[in-house]
């Protein structure tokens, strides 16, 4: 996962996408990053480049980041054509300069996907993911209404699998990696987490139908089973979850059509 240790400092050339605002044209601009310590993270290297830009009175490169330890899902650079850079299973912020050769020319771009418009330079708007969550990415339980936590045992296997799915950090790399800009992996991860747990059953059908419909409505493309998504995913969310969601979706569609419905309306004494 991590390249061999190297003690020698390196120089690299960056080709960085600069774009002043949402509807403005962008272009690549070249910068030199000199004398980088191989143990420096890629984002720390950008910090240093930015400080020197500021000192020269230029606007620094805008890029998104926060936790810098691979968990918040904020960082989102496409490095040399790959969302989150050269290595598997890590986020941009966990990429270190030891992964690059001395003299390398590195291209840095924002995620390119229609539902994630560029805000500035390398920062994109991923609020579409919140909208998908609002459509059904939850279990409707009022605060305080939960039963004792051990009242319903859950098999360790299912709990572990639900956790595998729940690890998604909402970064959007799956969308950026997909030629159709499909959000299937992201949606499948959430849908599967809940469908694997007893608490998620009552809303199971409604959830998958609503989230998929919202995803389509927001302009994410469809899945053609290329699995670029799971290859780019920093949390290695498996594309098996997509298959699982597809099964859920089909069952829900059928049940939706043939399910007997109560005539009762709300209200009463």
């Amino acid at each position: 996962m991590v390249a061999e240790s190297s003690e020698k400092n390196i120089n690299v050339t960056l080709r960085v996408w600069r774009q002043a605002g949402p509807n403005q044209p962008g272009k690549f601009v070249e910068y030199q990053a000199k004398n980088c310590n191989p143990n420096m993270s890629f984002l720390e290297m950008l910090d240093v480049v930015n400080d020197s830009l500021v000192t020269q009175g230029e606007e620094p490169i805008a890029f998104a980041h926060d936790c810098r330890e691979g968990i918040c899902g904020t960082c989102n650079l496409v490095i040399d054509g790959k969302p989150h850079g050269p290595h598997k299973a890590i986020a941009t912020c966990q990429t270190y300069m030891r992964s690059f050769a001395d003299g390398a020319v590195i291209t840095v771009e924002p995620f390119r996907a229609k539902p994630f418009p560029v805000i500035k330079d390398l920062i994109t708007d991923r609020s579409a993911f919140d909208k998908i969550q609002q459509a059904g990415g939850f279990i409707s339980v009022r605060t305080g209404a939960g039963a004792d936590a051990n009242a319903t045992p859950i098999s360790k296997d299912n709990a572990d699998l639900a956790m595998d799915a729940a690890q998604c950090i909402g970064c959007g790399a799956c969308v950026a990696a997909c030629k159709n800009a499909s959000a299937m992996l992201f949606v499948a991860a959430k849908v599967s987490q809940f469908s694997l747990l007893p608490q998620g059953q009552p809303e199971r059908d409604r959830r998958v139908l609503a989230m998929v419909a919202k995803m389509d409505e927001l302009g994410f493309g469809s899945c053609t089973n290329q699995y670029e998504c799971s290859a780019a995913c920093p949390k290695l969310i498996s594309h098996d979850f997509i298959a699982r969601m597809n099964r859920d979706y089909i069952k829900a569609t059928i049940r939706q059509t043939f399910k007997p419905k109560s005539n009762a309306v709300a209200g009463g004494a």
Partner: protein, 641 residues
């Protein structure tokens, strides 16, 4: 002088909260709830749980975050776990024991009643999270698993691999999204609170800057809740996310809210040591590792340069096990951090610069196999590998203490309301429950306790005193004045046109704080810092360079305005540390210690909360005191031996 009434209910400790809830708190009737608008700033565990629950109850809620989505709050990074007095392990845990461990862990500087309430509602939190679909770790029988954390002799910590904070936050976020989806909460991402609006002595709104468009906006409400997290980034290098900041709390302080115990900061013992001056953050290795890892340094300073594998067993000093035999590697954070510092001060540190100690898993691998260790801590070993390029299955980890949490924060009463009526403060942003030292896995507990189970009751008590529909309009002069204040600060920063980037100043400030107001403090070091900080601040306003304009996304400006606040808050931290002439928890004054290096408290003179009140620019702040009246537990010497 601010009036600090703690509003602690009378009666037996174990009944206070339930009696207060059912008998004393005023209720708001359902039809009136929707006439009240509540602003929640922050959507970490505290803010998201509060916003979602208040919306469920029928209040109109607006939730603001500076992040691009509420799911990014810093709570997401919490690794180890969350405490709850469930006693599922049948190992003798109880609400009282959790209460006692937390009060003792905090070195008797928190309120008994608050801590007891926290322990009581801890059990509801786990129920709530499981009902939301949080995939906690389970045993083969299908029941929830637990582990131990520092400062406790029972296993009461619930966890989701090494990503507990992530899973709890995503649970609270899903509740928030549920409410947003049905229109009960308006979520405003990329919207940073830059000032508090106080009208006739009550908090009635906020000013924000939209981080995308640069627009400065006014928002009015019947009550304002801050759940904006801690201020540890004052130190520059810390385990916090880079964006975590103190602006909301600090600007509220400058509008009259008291800042309590600002010097109570937590230095976490197990972080990856600093490797170079380009470094932007320090990474935590969860305390849960101390369940199975053993901490040591060479007995002999001459061995420090040798690889660990060449240092034989008898030449190793497992100093925590030696000094604190009953808690061993699970001694509380402040105690463990200082012990590591002492070892390195003695010249027995390891790694670059000799500022590190070993955390060794060789025994655990023998006992559990490598796969067994991987199952428990795999992701942490991976993180360690990514950062250091070292394989901790083969050689011990190197760790060193780093700034991690702030126990201090805005002063609040039992209702979590600050001394400014209508301003509530939740989560790490308040000062309330952890005294002078927080135990591991207790911050997540407190954030969710505040948001799910306390504020939904106590806010009604305030709102019931406000006429429905009486909230001011945003054209009130106080709004205009606060907006102008924000514009002035930003214009000054943009116009300074100096030579140095913000980051250089932040580094320098961080170094002053780490050296003089860090793990150990003295009168001299603090006086020195109180002299250096204003000098650096003056230089900052003269020589900082903030390119670009305020009318677009401008990360330099965001940082500059946050660092401007650190330049002031840091001084208050040092003043507080100087005034507190005792050692307690994370506040270690070298002058006040026992011969074995443990904290020497002075309950007679400092058994109180210090709540600082702003008096205007250039004036010394006022130190108010809230006495801590211990009715039920004896303040005793904290011993982990």
């Amino acid at each position: 002088m601010a009036k600090l009434e703690s509003k602690i209910p009378t009666g037996p400790l174990a009944d206070k909260w339930s009696t207060y809830k059912s008998e004393a708190l005023k209720l708001v009737n359902p039809a009136n709830k929707r006439k009240y608008e509540v602003i929640v700033v922050g959507a970490g565990l505290a803010g998201a749980s509060a916003a979602a629950t208040l919306a469920e109850l029928g209040y109109k809620v607006k939730c603001f975050v500076f992040h691009d989505t509420p799911r990014r709050a810093h709570s997401i990074a919490a690794q180890g776990g969350i405490n709850a007095a469930k006693n599922y392990q049948n190992d003798g845990d109880s609400v009282h024991r959790l209460y006692y461990d937390t009060i003792k862990g905090g070195d008797y500087r928190s309120r008994e009643a608050n801590v007891h309430r926290l322990a009581e509602v801890s059990v509801n939190i786990i129920d709530q999270c499981v009902a939301q679909g949080v995939p906690f770790a389970r045993e083969y029988g299908g029941l929830l698993a637990n582990r131990s954390f520092g400062g406790a002799q029972v296993s009461r910590t619930f966890y989701a691999r090494g990503q507990t904070g992530q899973q709890l936050l995503l649970g609270a976020y899903s509740a928030l999204m549920k409410e947003a989806g049905r229109g009960a909460v308006e979520v405003h991402p990329f919207e940073e609170m830059s000032d508090l609006v106080v009208i006739e002595g009550q908090a009635k709104g906020i000013i924000t800057r939209n981080l995308v468009s640069g627009e400065i906006r006014r928002w009015s409400a019947d009550a304002v809740i801050l759940a904006t997290g801690g201020y540890g980034n004052v130190f520059n290098l810390s385990t916090y996310a880079r964006g975590s900041n103190a602006t909301a709390a600090w600007r509220a302080y400058k509008r009259g809210a008291c800042f309590a115990n600002p010097c109570f900061t937590q230095i976490h013992p197990t972080c990856i040591p600093v490797s170079g001056d380009y470094q932007s953050k320090l990474t935590l290795m969860s305390e849960s590792l101390r369940n199975d890892g053993r901490i040591w340094v060479p007995k002999n300073a001459a061995d420090c340069d040798k690889p660990a594998s060449q240092i034989p067993e008898e030449a190793r000093d497992y100093y925590l096990e030696r000094i604190y035999p009953s808690f061993g590697n699970l001694a509380p954070r402040d105690v463990s951090s200082r012990a590591a510092m002492r070892m390195c001060d003695e010249g027995r540190g390891v790694g670059p610069g000799k500022r590190g100690v070993y955390l060794d898993f060789a025994d655990a691998i023998q006992r559990l196999t490598e796969d067994g260790v991987r199952e428990r801590y795999g992701n942490l070993f991976d993180i360690y590998h990514e950062i250091t390029n070292e394989n901790a299955y083969k050689q011990p980890m190197r760790i060193y203490p780093a700034v991690h949490y702030t126990m201090g924060g805005l002063w609040v009463d039992y209702n979590l309301m600050s001394n400014v009526p209508g301003l509530f403060v939740l989560g790490e942003a308040n000062f309330s429950d952890h005294g002078a030292n927080r135990l591991g896995a207790s911050a997540l507990m407190q954030g969710l306790a505040d948001g799910y189970f306390v504020i939904p009751y106590t806010i009604g008590n305030y709102l019931a005193t406000q006429k429905p529909g009486s909230r001011p309009k945003t054209d009130a002069t106080e709004f205009a004045q606060a907006e102008q204040n924000v514009r002035d600060i930003n214009d000054r920063l943009l116009g300074a046109n100096g030579k140095e980037p913000v980051s250089h100043f932040h580094k320098r400030l961080g170094l002053i704080m780490w050296e003089n107001c860090g793990m150990a403090r003295t009168k001299e070091s603090l006086q020195k810092a109180i002299k250096l900080i204003p000098e650096l601040r003056a230089e900052y306003w003269q020589n900082v360079r903030v390119p670009g304009s305020g009318a677009t996304l401008n990360q330099s400006l965001e940082n500059a305005s946050r660092v401007a606040d650190y330049m002031e808050l840091s001084e208050l931290m040092c003043r507080d540390a100087l005034a507190r002439e005792e050692s307690c928890g994370g506040h270690f004054r070298e002058e006040y210690q026992y011969p074995d290096g443990e904290c020497k408290r002075d309950d007679a003179n400092f058994g109180h909360v210090a709540a600082w009140e702003y008096q205007g620019d250039g004036k010394d702040p006022l130190r108010n005191v809230e006495p801590l009246n211990y009715e039920f537990t004896q303040m005793s010497v904290r011993s982990y031996k």
